[in-house]
Symmetry: C2
Subunit: 362 residues, 2 copies
């Protein structure tokens, strides 16, 4: 107990911890609630009074002072970030000149943090995922930070799967002990259903939560080894960081980075990748069905987010409307009804994979 | 041919014809497209680019100069009338101080018209019904006007029924010859289905279109005989008509009128009631189903009014949205989807009789 308390005290006070929230997604999957103008991370998907990025900050607050939170987003969203996260210093809101996937995004934010905090130990996290059991999560991230602080190691979070989910990537381990750091054997792309069932039965495959914990020196070192092109761009950018010329240099150099995910750029090449298996109620909220499964439900299995919404003879349906909307909805079973910014969607949940095609600009 | 042309010429030039559009309804049946703020007569129910009251004026224009159109409405709607019908003289827009059903409304507008046009021959018509075959309709109204011009007679329009409709009142005749003025035997309230079927089989029952054609002297005379209370109120109002004191007198006297329909006040008591049976495609558009049956339909039986509305796997559904709305609607069969002014309705057409209850203010 005594050691635990001291350990907690050490972690809470550890000024080397930084949290980088990656918030560049344009979020077409929850259309029309999520749109390129206001993607999913900035909306109150679950009707809890906070956007997903605000929930993400809440989740990491026990581990890190707001002055050491960073957000990387595209320039179109910096106003939204400032508005929704006023506690984060304005200079910690980093705007990518253009979207070049996660590897350049992580490299830039790391080089940037390292220029003023060379000893930083950094958590990179998506802005738009959901974790329900926060205490477990806090413990997992603490363990990851402790492990990554003094090693050349990238620690990821692997969620113990509860169903043969085909919408997530998987992390293969050899023997997954909850809460213990273990070596990653391989990363696996989103599987088909048969493969997902085999993963679940096998027990050594975890959902990839897209969280990476590594110290700044490790990030730089891993990029130099496995993605030297991006590292070279960042080294050219380095002299301009925290100077009046940063933005101009970023605008010129950032687009020269290869457009590649951190998984391909580093994770799948490096032997230094670890994972902490965790029993988390976690979701990427990547579909209306997954939102529905995490929103509160009435006795008939309906989830309602919005204002004056009256359901009659409805079952297993998800309704997501602006708070000002009055709605009467009758006779739906297994539907999504969503509206925002002048766009209305009514669709069977079973057919939601077609929403993108249905809503595409003609 | 020659006689017909001369007859048409006479009718078109007949300056005694006046048309009174009764536009006081608050229209809860097509919620949320129709609301107390903007009831059905003022909206483009069918997506044809004109509201029902504009279509009503269009329908009567071959018979009457705009200077002899009158609209009786409640004071809350006079701005809407002015906006939608700029060709009607402002002084012909009459505002009832309060809703007291159709008898006081008809009496007031008749006494008002008669004060400047004692020889007026008047058509009273609802503002919110639909007639598709206009030429037939024009002929019927001409015949009615010709008949009522010089007789103490009220001529109604009886639509030849095409189905056992339970939503309309009926007019009983003895032998219904299309286009010929015939005596009314009785008015019948909305029947149950068995009665409606018997009416249809009998052949002597017509749908009551709620149109009354009578000259101003007949209106006054019939009110004196069958609704002397209302006639007495109007006689007290008469000296104030077309004076600066009209509104004040109206405000004091009109509410003293019995709240009663013209059917009960006059039609069911008088022996002087006639009807012209007409083969008209006519509807009171009193339900979403009836709107749907008169709106254009795609190959799957869907009727769509609105802007960028995309249907997938939908059948037999009615969609009525504001022109600015983008919508994707998937997997509905037999539904109404309607929205206006911040209120959304999704309901099975088969259950639409419950809309009023569903949408009632809690």
């Amino acid at each position: 107990m005594c050691r635990g308390t001291a350990h907690l005290y050490f972690m809470l006070m550890d000024n080397s911890t930084h949290v980088v929230i990656i918030a560049g997604g344009i979020g077409s999957r929850l259309w029309p609630a999520s749109t390129p103008e206001t993607p999913k991370q900035f909306i109150d998907v679950l009707g809890v009074g906070k956007s997903l990025i605000q929930l993400t900050v809440d989740r990491f607050r026990p581990l890190c002072d707001p002055s050491r939170f960073w957000v990387v987003t595209s320039s179109g969203y910096t106003d939204l970030v400032r508005e929704q996260l006023p506690e984060i210093p304005e200079e910690n809101i980093l705007a990518e000149p253009e979207a070049r996937n996660t590897a350049p995004c992580i490299a830039y934010s790391c080089w940037k943090i390292a220029s003023s905090h060379p000893d930083a130990n950094i958590v990179f996290t998506p802005a738009d995922a959901l974790v329900l059991n926060r205490d477990v999560f806090t413990g997992v991230i603490k363990s990851a930070l402790e492990f990554s602080a003094s090693r050349e190691a990238v620690v990821t979070v692997g969620v113990m799967p509860t169903r043969p989910e085909t919408g997530y990537g998987y992390i293969q381990v050899s023997g997954a002990g909850t809460g213990k750091v273990t070596k990653v054997i391989s990363f696996r792309e989103k599987p088909d259903l048969a493969t997902a069932k085999a993963y679940l039965a096998d027990g050594n495959y975890l959902w990839n939560a897209g969280i990476f914990v590594w110290n700044a020196r490790t990030v730089v070192s891993q990029f130099r080894k496995y993605s030297p092109g991006i590292a070279a761009v960042m080294d050219r950018l380095a002299p301009h960081l925290d100077t009046p010329g940063e933005n101009a240099a970023l605008k010129e150099l950032f687009p020269q980075c290869e457009k590649i995910s951190i998984d391909y750029a580093v994770m799948e090449k490096s032997p230094d990748i670890y994972v902490i298996p965790a029993e988390l109620e976690w979701s990427d909220l990547g579909s209306w069905s997954s939102v529905k499964s995490h929103a509160s439900q009435d006795a008939d299995g309906n989830s309602v987010v919005g204002g004056d919404i009256r359901l009659f003879n409805c079952r297993n349906s998800m309704v997501h409307l602006p708070a000002v909307r009055k709605a009467v909805i009758e006779g739906l079973d297994g539907y999504i009804v969503a509206e925002k910014g002048g766009a209305l969607l009514i669709c069977r949940l079973a057919d939601e994979q077609n929403i993108k095609e249905y809503s595409a600009d003609k």
